[in-house]
Symmetry: C2
Subunit: 592 residues, 2 copies
């Protein structure tokens, strides 16, 4: 009988003692369970993602190696695979390998080094590591030949992918050494459409080579990324035989390559990748919800915060944020502040209060009319003295409202222990810069910065339907057109909506999807038939003017993307600087 | 007679038409001057630094290649070396090379591809480019054999450096092809101590191989980086025979490898690298000044802004910023706003006004007592209702002042055309998080974010001495101890100084220097003999507590570094995320 532990742990970059303690505890527990082997994720001991910290703080590597020695001592009667940063100790190489230490009976019997070093999107392995010249490593335990590889080395199958990024397929090479089981130690973040891809790939490799496939993945939040865990085993027919929890730590016991199969987020059981833009987000809503919860919990816990304070406007963004925060942190830890002005509608105030009551979070009201009035009076006087437009530009006045609100939220955060203010900007708004610096885009964390507006509406429906308490978000909030209620239209007798200011959200969100997922530029978008056009008659002129507006506004918004608070990458592509290094001094909208 | 033009141009990433127009104009001008050859910097046509923009906006490469065709047509009777992003057109390679097109008589006669791809600090070449398998390229013009290489390929000489980053030295390989002159096309940012290093290296290579050495470098500002131009030629004895302007575009004519030698920033003529921390910044002040001016001008011009507005507190940071802005943008384009509260001293107000008068910039005063009072009253009420500390924590009140000021600056920016608010935080303060989010660290640009406090004092002296109008910064400002004047000490009857809140700046700045330049951790710093200790008796206990405070505060400040406005890297190392990818979810202060 073979018993293997898939040790799906959560790590903190550079926090060697924390990671090491977790690894030691897990090894001891595995020994108590009489396991033959315990497998940790890629870079488990150093913690991941780590950016440049060991390049600047070199002593961390020393501490790490010392701790590896301690861990080694615990491996009597068990084999442990521990990911770590391994010095190359060679003048002619980059200083480190991305390695797995194979520890057995107090010795490091072998070391597996990563060969394919991803350097795209959120990955920068090439910046730090020397690629291995060898491929994988075989260890034999009780007649089973385990072939061990690191993350990306398992993701370049020539039959599965139409295009390969790398020339070499390490698994193909490894198979020459005739393993009966493949072990892949990974730290792989969750992204839209990735679970379907991962399942299909791993299953097909197991089947193709007639091997068992053990995949161990990190779980939890690191800078802007959520690792979804869900470590798993496929048998030699490609059938799923075991799967750990999604997005949280797990100690997974596999007996003869089988075990419990934990639930998968709703929608993701369907194995077909979505290949086109669709306003039907159903297949991804549960994963989106779980990703954001993992992100909020991880960021708060790892930075030492416990409570969140946010402005409740009675609009969609802040309402969805409030629900997510309550679910992630507990309702008693969320403070919703209504900060109305004269132009805030009575309905909005009421909706905010109903939402807070439904959720059971704290609710307070501070009207900010006086602040606005004083700022405005002082400024009018100044504007007269300089070359200003004297309040003809509405944005100035609008922004004072948003900034006064953020000042109040940050003050509450300053005065209360472990309380973080929340930035409620969404992805559609951020794309076109429809977010106020030091206003709604300011905060200690931005939970929905990678969720577009149309997806947020779908997520709100999902929350109203799928949580134990139904319909926490009042119907009013879901039915009224989005808008920041900062600007009053005298003619229409109501505040201006966001779509009047910009363009319809379904149209905007489709542009975003094609720019991100298909690299469309102005020329391609002009020719593209939008889903929005099937139900709405718009002229080619109108269409082109919206596309132009998108490029113009997104180019001007680059600065705002740079000062976005820490957030969570949710979609397949994002504007998050962890993934997309976007220079401010640039011009990317070549409209010829 | 050979005539060569060193075309030291300034580029914008992805702005193909802009870069191309500049290249075409320069080639035409070179032809008018009957030049044999015109040499552009690395990646001149695409623009640099470009981050991920061509990875996401693929059509830019298409536009670039179309423009290269147009440029080619202009090269009758002249050779032009034009840096560009070259598609590899190979499935088995990364998609692009970092290349130089050698254009002659309407044809691309050859292409040089970069071999060494730097991927440290601000460089990420490995993320984008396939390394060349070949080394450099020889072209023959009028009996001269020119060996052409790209930037980093010239920076790995085995005799010059004690440690080499790469195994191969492309110049050594190139020499086998027997060039008589080396041409290096570069885009190399200015950093502290780099000019001395560069001069010594290039001169020594020319001498070692007995060749002329032509070095062409980009000039101007791109995201957080200033390129210092100063293209140059060394003769085969290693003597400098020509040098272009520092930090600005130049059209440099070399006749028989000789020409005008433009001025070098004061102090940098001294060829010895500074190898230890010193409070004597003299050797680097002129370069610091010129770097910051280049940064301000570049950022404003390239983003379309013309005017700057900043708060004038009568303190060091805002005063130095005001002088730098006036020099960079013209005094008529700078608006200094005094925003005193009740605790602002009369002297500070007066000092701010004197500074503004000396400089001739606009000066306005808006007392913000009323704003503070209203915020405070509203908040007191709220704090009573929640688990808050009820104004026992002074930071809350201090921060409301800073945030109200920023609200006013952003409002002025919103209402006035092309006006950008300035963040005045300095490097020492940012390191320990002594800067207010949405307050003094908020702005559209942060000119002194990479200048430490002790260096700022030296820079202020430099400005008072070396500008045409002497002593613009009042003596008072230079003599009073730094402090934000946000907190009043009742016992002492004055506001608390920054050094009382933190630690002496000379001590703090020495920690920063050793952390950045020597990778010192807590253990090394504890044993280190600080310059501060030679004149001040401090106990080991005091010393260790300051070092601990540094690590504690800088770890907590990571979030602030992430939302720092665009800035200018000045020092050899910085906290700017362009150079140092610092994860927030991390622990780097291993105090064991």
């Amino acid at each position: 009988m073979s018993k293997i532990i898939l040790a799906q742990i959560d790590t903190v970059a550079g926090d060697i003692f924390h990671n090491s303690a977790k690894i030691k505890e897990t090894i001891n527990k595995a020994k108590e369970k009489n396991a033959n082997m315990v497998i940790f994720p890629e870079l488990a001991l150093f913690g991941y993602p780590f950016g440049d910290i060991f390049a600047r703080h070199k002593s961390l590597i020393k501490f790490q190696l010392k701790e590896l020695e301690e861990i080694k001592k615990l491996t009597n009667n068990i084999t442990a695979l521990v990911g770590y940063v391994e010095p190359t100790n060679s003048e002619n190489k980059k200083p480190y390998y991305n390695s797995i230490a194979i520890l057995q009976n107090g010795k490091q019997i072998s070391t597996v080094r990563k060969k394919l070093l991803p350097s795209y999107c959120e990955f920068n392995d090439n910046r730090y590591f020397e690629p291995s010249q060898e491929t994988g490593e075989i260890i034999e335990i009780e007649n089973e030949r385990y072939g061990i590889i690191v993350c990306e080395d398992g993701f370049n199958d020539k039959d599965f992918f139409e295009h390969n990024i790398y020339m070499c397929d390490p698994i193909e090479e490894l198979m020459k050494k005739k393993p009966t089981t493949i072990i892949n130690c990974s730290s792989s973040p969750s992204r839209a459409r990735k679970e379907q891809l991962k399942h299909n790939l791993l299953s097909s490799i197991a089947k193709k080579y007639k091997v068992n496939y053990i995949y161990v993945n990190q779980a939890g939040y690191g800078d802007n990324l959520c690792f979804d865990g869900a470590s798993r085993i496929y048998d030699l027919n490609g059938n799923l035989k075991l799967r750990g929890k999604f997005f949280e730590e797990d100690f997974i016991e596999a007996v003869n390559f089988q075990g419990k199969i934990e639930n998968i987020p709703k929608g993701l059981e369907q194995r077909n990748e979505i290949k086109d833009f669709s306003l039907d987000y159903f297949n991804d809503l549960d994963r989106t919800y779980q990703t954001i919860l993992c992100g909020i919990r991880g960021y708060f816990r790892k930075t030492g915060f416990q409570k969140a304070v946010l402005g409740l406007s009675g609009g969609l963004d802040s309402s969805v944020c409030a629900v997510l925060l309550a679910d992630a942190l507990g309702k008693e830890n969320v403070y919703g502040i209504s900060m109305p002005t004269k132009i805030t509608s009575l309905n909005s105030k009421k909706d905010a209060q109903i939402l807070a009551n439904n959720l059971g979070i704290h609710f307070l009201e501070i009207p900010i009319n006086k602040e606005i009035e004083i700022f405005s009076n002082e400024l009018k006087d100044i504007f007269r003295q300089i070359d200003a437009e004297q309040y003809t530009k509405s944005t100035t006045f609008e922004n004072i409202q948003a900034r006064s609100r953020a000042t109040i939220l940050w003050s509450i955060s300053n005065e209360c222990k472990f309380m973080l203010p929340i930035a409620t900007s969404d992805k559609s708004e951020l794309y076109i810069g429809y977010a106020t610096i030091n206003g709604d885009m300011s905060g200690g964390f931005a939970p929905i910065a990678d969720v577009t507006k149309t997806k947020l509406f779908a997520l709100a429906d999902f929350l109203n339907t799928n949580r134990p308490i139904k319909n926490v978000i009042p119907k009013n909030i879901l039915e009224k057109p989005p808008g920041a209620e900062l600007k009053f239209d005298e003619q229409k007798g109501r505040t201006v909506t966001a779509e009047e200011d910009n363009m319809p959200y379904p149209f905007l969100d489709e542009i975003i999807w094609f720019v991100e997922n298909r690299n469309y530029g102005y020329e391609e978008l002009k020719k593209h038939k939008f889903k929005y056009e099937t139900n709405n008659l718009i002229s080619q002129e109108q269409k082109e003017s919206w596309i132009l507006k998108f490029f113009d506004k997104s180019q001007k918004a680059l600065f705002k993307w740079h000062i976005l608070p820490p957030s969570i990458i949710v979609d397949a592509k994002s504007i998050n600087i962890t993934e997309y290094h976007h220079p401010i001094i640039s011009k990317y909208s070549m409209i010829g």
